[in-house]
């Protein structure tokens, strides 16, 4: 549990100088003690050979227990380690990194090293001065464990049932009049258990029955979510059933809107429409379900059948990899029904990945022939012209009774039944769509054509510029119709998948408390979608729990702090509402920002955005960092010791600097490093404060931005770069070199590179010369 939230009436700081791990050998601890008790006016200053030892911990704990201190300043190792030891309930903990970033990255005994150590202590004391323990935000109204599941297909049904089994009440809404979605139409399903070789029975009816029979689940068919406001714990949703509106407060939302088939008539040249015997895989599934294995044209029995998997991304951008498995399934089922059938599968790269290889081999063993090649055309007489690259010629193949075209799964990240939203559709593809540029590059050449075909795109300038217009112009209206400043849609990635960081954190949503799962997030099979639903339900529970406890969800799990807005000096500039990556800040009618605290992820981007410095956290605020910047003893130019201020993202750059220390990479003595929650939280005012304070250079170290952004707050690094570009312009207007402020992207693995980067920068700053403001 986080620290208790009682008001601290009087700050009683204690400084604990650790001498272990060679600290006392490398720096002058006597001098530090003198600094603490002298200039820093902290008489309670102790030393120990190893504060992390049982003895050392006991010493601090006793001081806390006795009420001697309520702010513990430990000058020892990095704040990233020994967190279990240095944990004293009832006291605030401030850490000064003397080991990794001082003695391990600087030569022992030197004046510069001692100056750095002294500054580390000054910074810690300054931090303590502006540090208050966070308090929970005013209790939001919490809806209890009531979950809204949107979509009544297999994913939504599973989500509803799993949530009910975990103790929630559930409302399941489905836009059509029937539950089961596309899964209902599959005659059989892909294998999901060992030996992964045979199509398995479709048990969707059992699932529907279980949901309908569960008292904790309310099923609403013919229902749309026409409005969503509020936030986790208390989303305020409007459910419209047959035209009638119903308001409901729900704790979290699982979006399982699934997919729709790609339009087979867009598969150019493959004969769809030219003959009734050219059918899509969806239509062939109907044939399998009917059990009548006959040609559509004349009712003759099916004997020789070709399946075509189009791997060509121009023909079909949604060739999801699932299509291949569906073809295998259908071919096996056909063979079972017609054992003498001759079945060909024309494919390019055959994507039967993972255990699906067993399924593929099963089909091969059964005698289904997989022929690698690009299908050039399918004639009205079902002659297939295969560019057989293996043989090296175009092979006309005839004698087929039917040709089945594999289609892809298009994610339902919008509701295609609805008109596009009047406002905010431009935000459907977020400005950080990581793959937009890639897709644009891949599509270069036919982009114009595509744009013409695409249904009436919302051609906002932004969407055009970002080059992913083909994808941006997805048809349809919003699924949840979010009443958010950031627009009504869920942000999507390439090809319209509603997702975020899908590698490490598959449910790191960009709309807190709303979790997508199933094929809306990624093309997936029924089994995979069921699993995905379970994951999303768990995250939904966590979001409700966090709202209840007024703490943050991932990645700052359990954080009680939240941004507080001093509206008295707010200029209604709206930067905070626009830049919030999570859509947590809305605008009131009068234009003032209003925080939805349960949506907030505590990154501080709003704080960094605010030009009048009126957005602050109790334990992380403008004044705190300002004081920390000012606390450093900046020597005058005659000392020939420049000072460089580094703002380091605490998740990547700061650990990289620690690891540079672990590897004993030697760092320039001129830098002073301040960790920040996210580069997005860096206020331009800190830069001016630093320049006024005589720093000669300022470097911002953030994560990779752009297409493959790595920021867990989505766009902190990108925002910082933008802000610093305008700072650079200001510098130039003040006749200062714009090199004095620099933003760099470093990854957590850059421990060697970040050292070189800073050392080079120090050389560069020395070459430029000292800050003319120094000493003023």
């Amino acid at each position: 549990m986080p620290d208790g939230g009682t008001m601290v009436i009087e700050k009683k700081s204690g400084i604990y100088l650790c001498e272990g791990c060679g600290i006392a050998d490398a720096i002058d601890v006597d001098a530090l003690e003198a600094l603490a008790t002298g200039d820093l006016k902290t008489p309670h200053c102790k030393r120990h050979a190893a504060y992390c030892s049982a003895e050392g911990v006991a010493e601090i704990a006793a001081d806390v227990k006795n009420g001697d201190v309520n702010q513990v300043l430990i000058a020892a190792c990095s704040p990233r380690v020994m967190t279990d030891r240095f944990n004293f309930p009832g006291a605030q903990i401030i850490r000064a990194n003397m080991r990794e970033q001082v003695i391990w990255s600087h030569p022992p005994g030197e004046e510069d090293t001692n100056m750095l150590a002294a500054d580390q202590l000054r910074i810690a004391v300054a931090q303590a001065g502006q540090f208050s323990p966070p308090e929970p935000h005013a209790e939001a109204e919490v809806a209890g464990a009531l979950l809204l599941v949107v979509g009544g297909g297999v994913t939504g049904l599973t989500a509803a049932l799993e949530a009910a089994h975990t103790g929630a009440e559930v409302i399941l809404v489905e836009k059509t009049d029937t539950l089961g979605g596309w899964t209902r139409k599959w005659s059989r399903l892909l294998p999901e258990r060992p030996p992964y070789r045979d199509p398995q029975p479709n048990d969707i009816a059992d699932l529907i029955a279980a949901v309908e029979g569960d008292k904790a689940i309310t099923v609403m068919t013919n229902t749309l979510v026409t409005s969503t406001a509020g936030g986790p714990g208390a989303f305020d949703v409007t459910l419209t059933q047959n035209g009638k509106n119903q308001s409901q407060s729900v704790g979290a939302i699982v979006v399982a809107t699934g997919w729709r088939p790609y339009d087979p008539s867009l598969l150019e040249g493959l004969g769809y429409g030219a003959s009734p015997d050219v059918v899509s895989d969806i239509e062939f599934e109907e044939i399998l379900s009917s059990g009548e294995m006959k040609r559509k044209s004349n009712g003759d029995a099916l004997n020789t059948v070709a399946f075509i998997i189009s791997g060509d991304s121009d023909r079909m951008p949604y060739s999801s990899g699932l299509s291949d498995r569906i073809v295998i399934k259908q071919a096996l089922q056909l063979l079972e029904a017609v054992p003498e059938a001759m079945i060909y599968v024309m494919h390019e790269d055959l994507r039967a990945h993972g255990m699906a290889e067993e399924f593929y081999r099963q089909a091969q063993e059964a005698g289904i022939i997989f022929q690698n090649g690009v299908v050039k055309s399918v004639g009205a007489d079902l002659t297939i012209t295969l560019e057989d690259r293996l043989i090296g010629e175009d092979v006309p193949m005839s004698g087929f009774d039917m040709v089945v075209l594999s289609t892809g799964m298009v994610p339902n990240s919008t509701n295609v039944d609805l008109e596009p939203a009047a406002k905010g559709a431009d935000q459907l593809v977020d400005d950080v769509n990581p793959l937009a540029a890639l897709l644009a590059a891949a599509k270069a050449g036919d982009g114009e054509e595509k744009a013409e075909e695409a249904p009436a795109p919302d051609t906002s300038e932004e969407a055009d510029q970002d080059g992913a217009n083909g994808e941006a112009a997805m048809p349809g209206g919003p699924i949840l119709n979010l009443q958010y400043r950031q627009g009504p849609h869920l942000p999507v990635l390439a090809n319209g998948y509603a997702d975020s960081h899908f590698i490490c954190f598959p449910y790191e949503t960009r709309r807190t408390g709303i979790y997508t799962c199933g094929p809306v997030r990624r093309a997936m099979s029924v089994a995979e979608a069921r699993q995905d639903a379970q994951g999303a339900v768990l995250k939904a529970f966590q979001a409700m729990r966090a709202a209840d406890k007024a703490v943050s969800v991932h990645p700052r799990v359990g954080d009680l702090s939240y941004p507080e807005f001093g509206l008295d000096i707010c200029t209604k500039c709206r930067r905070c509402t626009v830049e919030c990556p999570f859509g947590a800040i809305d605008e009131m009618e009068d234009g003032y920002p209003v925080l939805n605290p349960t949506r907030c992820r505590r990154c501080g981007t709003c704080m960094g955005a605010c030009p009048v410095r009126t957005i602050n956290f109790k334990n992380y605020n403008i004044s705190m960092i300002t004081d920390m910047i000012k606390a450093v003893d900046v020597p005058d130019e005659f000392a020939e010791k420049p000072r460089i201020l580094v703002f380091a993202c605490e998740n990547d750059a700061y650990p990289a600097l620690d690891m540079a220390g672990i590897n004993r990479h030697q760092l320039t003595p001129y830098v002073r490093i301040l960790p920040v929650r996210c580069l997005g939280s860096v206020s331009a005012t800190w830069v001016s404060t630093a320049l006024e304070s005589g720093y000669d250079g300022i470097m911002l170290l953030g994560c990779k931005s752009g297409d493959d952004y790595q920021c867990h707050f989505v766009k902190g690094s990108a925002i910082a770069q933008e802000r610093m570009e305008s700072v650079g312009a200001t510098l130039e207007s003040m006749m200062l070199e714009k090199e004095r402020v620099r933003t760099e992207e470093v990854s957590i693995a850059d421990s060697a590179r970040v050292t070189a980067l800073l050392n080079d920068y120090a050389d560069e700053i020395k070459a430029i010369g000292y800050n003319p403001f120094k000493g003023f």
């Binding site: 081999r361 091969q364 063993e365 997989f370």
Partner: protein
């Protein structure tokens, strides 16, 4: 004897041939397992001398290219080293398929003049006549089956080898070794050929 080859359709790519191979060639039922990875052709010691190589032969069978397959020199370059077979990631008996296709090519008149067919015939002559292979006689018969002049040429070219063999007692001179019960063997082979022919007729 094997079930008759399917009629050649106007279309070169007659799927009937793929089906015929599946049903009539040893290992043909495993053809559908091929994923065209090329490990077989890439492993073949004399793949460079083949017009197609085993991997492409399989692709051509599956595309129904009867004449091209049965007249391919690939069938005649197999050294029976079985590398393709042991390396095949799908466990396809590639060597057996190639060799049986060679037998079929002979059977259906695609290979009357091929060296290997002639060699095989010389070999079988010795085996069926004596019950054993007489290396000298098989070789000689084979050389001369290539034509009288070619026979002389080959014989002379290998004269030194032959002399070496004679010198070390490794070339048998005189009457060929013969098994005792040659009569029995002849009867067995005749009956076996008869059964095979009957079976082919049954399937017609």
């Amino acid at each position: 004897m094997t079930a008759a080859l399917p009629e050649t359709a106007e279309n070169r790519y007659d799927l009937g041939f793929a089906r015929w191979v599946r049903d009539n060639v040893e290992g043909g039922d495993k053809l559908s397992l091929c994923m065209q990875c090329g490990a077989c052709s890439g492993s073949c010691p004399i793949g460079t001398q083949m017009d197609h190589g085993p991997r492409k032969i399989i692709a051509m069978i599956r595309a129904g290219m009867k004449d091209e397959v049965l007249s391919s020199n690939t069938l005649w370059n197999c050294t029976s080293c079985y590398r393709c077979t042991v390396r095949c990631p799908r466990g396809i008996p590639v060597t057996s398929i190639i060799q049986d296709l060679a037998a079929k090519a002979v059977e259906f008149g695609y290979a009357d003049k091929k060296e290997n067919a002639l060699f095989a015939k010389s070999f079988w002559w010795s085996t069926s006549a004596f019950g054993r292979t007489d290396e000298r006689l098989v070789t000689a018969r084979y050389y001369f089956s290539l034509g009288f002049l070619e026979g002389i040429r080959r014989g002379l070219a290998n004269l030194k080898i032959a002399l070496g063999m004679v010198r070390t007692g490794r070339m048998h001179l005189g009457m060929p070794h013969k098994i005792k019960d040659i009569k029995g063997l002849t009867a067995i082979l005749a009956r076996a050929a008869e059964i095979e022919a009957e079976e082919a007729n049954d399937e017609l």
